[in-house]
Symmetry: C2
Subunit: 332 residues, 2 copies
Amino acid sequence: MGKRILLAHGGGGEETQELIKNLFIKYFSNPILEALEDSATLEVSGKVAFTTDGFTVSPIFFPGGDIGKLAVAGTVNDLTAVGAKPLYLAVSFIIEEGLELSQLERVVKSMAETARKVGVQIVTGDTKVVPRGAVDKLFITTSGIGKVLKEGISARNLKVGDQIIVSGTVGDHGACIFALREGLDFEGLKSDCAPLWELIEPLLKEGIEIHAMRDPTRGGLAAVLNEWAQSSKVAIYVEEEKIPVDEKVLGLCEFLGIDPYTLASEGRMVIAVPPHEVERTIKLLKEHPLGRDASVIGEVKENPKGRVIIKTPYGVERFLEPPTGEILPRIC
Amino acid sequence: MGKRILLAHGGGGEETQELIKNLFIKYFSNPILEALEDSATLEVSGKVAFTTDGFTVSPIFFPGGDIGKLAVAGTVNDLTAVGAKPLYLAVSFIIEEGLELSQLERVVKSMAETARKVGVQIVTGDTKVVPRGAVDKLFITTSGIGKVLKEGISARNLKVGDQIIVSGTVGDHGACIFALREGLDFEGLKSDCAPLWELIEPLLKEGIEIHAMRDPTRGGLAAVLNEWAQSSKVAIYVEEEKIPVDEKVLGLCEFLGIDPYTLASEGRMVIAVPPHEVERTIKLLKEHPLGRDASVIGEVKENPKGRVIIKTPYGVERFLEPPTGEILPRIC
């Protein structure tokens, strides 16, 4: 048995200082964090994006990622989705007493690697340790600051004629966690968890006229499209045949009788652009490995306002309803 | 029995949207939040302070405050402590399935009131609901952005001769939570939980030469002074007689044989200023109700470097050691 996290590590005294120095500073190392003041001091200017997300995924390690990678990628993607270059992250850990230190170290290392890949710095943080039973293993809340490179990307900004693009297969993360938690034997299911800044940056640099952009996490594609249709008071028509879904994910969905469009992705982006931008957008996305399966899946029409219509491969049209109910708790 | 939080409230679908609209937007109401994008978009410039803190206090309601007031005040105080005017907050809720909606509403209302008092806006947030047993009731992580008005306030910036000031009695919050949790009958113990921006703003406006400033939360006064002595490589001498401690807090400490200097405060500031600034600083602090008991408690000397020395009322000097061990989990 290795070392474990003690309540003393969250007491604010000597043990907390040791944990900060030997773990967080070791991996997140940068001069701003190392100042160790109550707040980090940054230099920023102009329009700034600010976001926060709590991560409670269970289990904390899964094929394709872990809670640390997810926490960094999730916040990076929320900044990216408003056209902002991710710059700085703040991290708050809430840890259950008794967690193996080696598990926490694996998570912290994964966070550092994911952050480094995107060029984002973890500049401030907080650690609380709570007694056994007050939290299940480890929750992480990440907050982020980014510099807005393109303004006006918004759920309210879809226009009739806009084409809807997804950057890759949908539902991989949700399917992976689902199978893992239910003990289902679906070999090869893997979370798509990934930071998307590198994939989207070229679109912003090339000045693509993005109207709306969002990562389809909780509630999946169905949640994003319904929010967009409602916020922009338009109809969104998608074709089932065109929506990329991994065949192992499809297999699980058929087995369980669930819809892949309500399953979370954690490394995909849904993008709405006017028709004249489609070709360039798809080309730029496909130049990056994360955008290999980028596809146009539908378009924006005028009516019925606020609704999403999906056309099945047999030509039947039905509403793709906004997800309701529990779906899958602790998916992210 | 009133309505309760369901897993569906955290599913990212329709119920999540309802909770956001009927609770968070209702109380936190501001145009930035109401855009409901993945990230809030803000206009900032120059030196910016950025901080995050997780709050896991148990119980979630206590004399003098609640987890919501604490979460807003804590982050406001961390920004204030680096000389920054608090501007924007991000809030992440992790809620246990089954929490009464009326309790959550009470917390949210308290957050909104505390934020309004300071003039800070809650501009973005996230809500996760986890199954019973995966978290104890409610954890909140708040992150904040502020505008740095005075640079260079730092734990590394104490100079020999600096005077150490506390803005009020120490240990009230810790003593209150301790008594409540242990079921001790110490009538009248009350948390000092409060946002300190209004108390400190005049010091910054008047250009007081603050060398170091910190709110003594986990680990209390002992943790702050030891961190300062170590970071600035100086000795800090304090006099026990001069440290304001509420007599009910003293009573509890004597009863339990604990030291009030390791108990958390949540509405106090420890400030180091050069001798010529002491009079003005004390005067400005005392002009605000939160600074009524402001006192000079000691001074910075050269040796022994990295240590804190406390002189008892009997004239005996001893080291005030940095706190170790668990102290009191879930104090904040």
